[in-house]
């Protein structure tokens, strides 16, 4: 393996934190969704790295699953965002507070 496993993990952590920061800091629903995608990909990189390091195929299988789920999630998530934008004319996350106790 050319790239050391530590580097892969550091990249994954950086990506994950970027994604998390995006989710927390941005208020638009689309940006939150992008942040979640980035976090998912960070987890995927860590899994692929692990699978290469120990020579176990399970990690790569997992990544394929994650990609499928992420695709489905984006499809549903974007549809929901479009629908709520039509209904209330806003894609701001804090605009939706029907769940307030």
């Amino acid at each position: 393996m050319i790239v050391p496993y530590d580097h892969i993990l550091i990249l994954a952590v950086l990506l994950f934190l970027t994604g998390a920061a995006c989710v927390v800091a941005r208020r638009t629903l689309i940006m939150i969704l992008i942040g979640v995608e980035i976090m998912l990909n960070a987890a995927g990189i860590a899994l692929v790295g692990g699978s290469l390091k120990w020579g176990v195929l399970g990690g790569q299988v997992f990544v394929i699953f994650i990609m499928a789920v992420a695709a489905a999630e984006v499809a549903v998530g974007l549809a929901l965002i479009v629908h709520s934008h039509r209904r209330s004319g806003s894609v701001e996350a804090d605009h939706y507070h029907l769940m307030k106790g």
């Binding site: 804090d94 029907l98 307030k100 106790g101």
Partner: protein, 625 residues
Amino acid sequence: MKTVLLLLMLFPLMGAALNALLGRYLTRRGVAAVACAAVLGALAMAVAAMVNTTAITRDIRLFDWFSVDGFQAVMNVHYDHLAAVMALMITFVSSVIHLYSVSFMREDEGIIRYFCYLNLFVFAMLVIALADNLIFVFLGWEGVGFCSYVLIGFWYSDEAKAAAGRKAFLLTRIGDAAFGVALGLFFLIFKDLSISHIVARTSLLSLGTATLLGLLLLWAAVGKSAQLPLLVWLPDAMAGPSPVSALIHAATMVTAGVYLLMRLFPILILSPAALMCTAIVGTLTALFGSFAALVQSDIKRVLAYSTISQVGYMLLAVGVADIVGGMFHLLSHAFFKSLLFLAAGCIIQALAGEHNIFRMGNLRRHLPGVSLLFLAGCLCLGTFPLLGGYFSKDRILLATFVHSGELSKVLWVIGMAAAFLTSLYTFRLYFIAFQDRPDGRKKDEFLQIPGFMSWVLYPLALTALFDGLLNLPGGFGKLFLGRYLASVPGSIVEVHATAREIWGMRIGSAALSLGGMVSAYFLWRRKSEEPALRGLRQVLFTGFYLDIFYERVIARPYNRIAGLLWTDIDEGGLDRGSEKIGGGFQRLSQGLRLWTTGRLSTYLRMLFLGFAALLCLLSLSWYIQ
């Protein structure tokens, strides 16, 4: 035979069911016709059953109800001569009363309800009279109690009348509780509740158990038959319509207790103590009732106390082991007392609901037919020589006199005194209400009543006057009833007494009866003003304050405890406690509500914060390791 007995019980039940389900589609005449036909059918069946009896005692299996763990509830009919006589009496008296009711209730709007319950009552009473299994006797026993309750409170919109019904129901339940306990004991000892089974195996009983069972049965009878100390419900039960008083509270239901004791007499006779208690209760009640009847001013209350007193005589007869005398008196009492109640019903209707005898007077002149019938009833009740109750009461008193033991002589003296008082109060009632007097009622104050109401009473009057023929002490047809009932376990055909005792008793009681009558004539012939209730008169009027005593000693403390349980423990303790707990949780959730801001960004931030904290903890634990 099976069909006849089944029909005997089913006719009234079908009448009740038909009126209950389809009564509103029938005319008033139709409702009455259904009810009367049902009871007349039952009368025909009772006669047919009596004529058809070939064997002395027959147990006829009608149907099985259920059987659980060795206990079998089988509806058998224990048809012996006692049951035959009782069933015939019940159906005859209720036929007359049903016919009378058609006229009596001619303007009442609750006629369907009335006839339905009346038929149901006849059914339940026949079950008591005929059933072999005590569980069915108990069902009938409760059935008559229920019908009595609804018919006393028939005019339920009047609060006092509804309360009288409730009182009767509650007080008779006190007796029924003892019946229930007795049923349990019977099953424990005999493994069966069939009367024929029990009576055949009385040798299984020890003296103590027999006494206990006898006393429990006596207590049950005391509740149902309105004896001391549970008699306070009967005078109030007069709130019901007069035919109901005649049927339920004079002729049949109140004698059910005595009948039960006769039916289970082989158990009672095992225990001298139970017999003695029965005799004492009966005698004291006879005296009590006579005293109380002496000062009443309501015509129906006089008759009610008189019923209490006469049922006391029947209990005395059972107590001195003469069930033939008891049955004889039961029959004659049923005839003359229902006659008196029905005639009183005519008078009350003719005077637009007047019950007070001091506001009557002149009835003999203006209501000659009814007063003749009432006089016949009075002569029977006052044991006028050779009429009605004379022979039966004579037989009971004779049996008491010759019964062994010193106590029976004392009871005999009390019984004789009560007999004198009976004659006295009966003719007091007659003279005050019926004699001519200047301030009595005028001709135009009388309402027209249907002639049928008095015509239908003539058969009853004839049986009442001449029912002594059933059991004449001598001559042709001597002791007919006694010989007929000879097959009933424990009965004696003739009271064994010397000729001197017999003749002394006959002349003595005739003298007492005539003496009471003559005294009443001189005391109350011209009486027209209602005397003030003071001193002894007040004590007697209230029934020796027994009612007030129960009110103060039992009802009021009970109400207070119930009130305490209700307001302080239930409402104050349980209800408020659970309300407080619920309120606490409500306040807690009000606080927790503030946490849910509904802002997605806050939630996400918190999610990551929690995740980070979790990771920190995890790495910390690795680091420590």
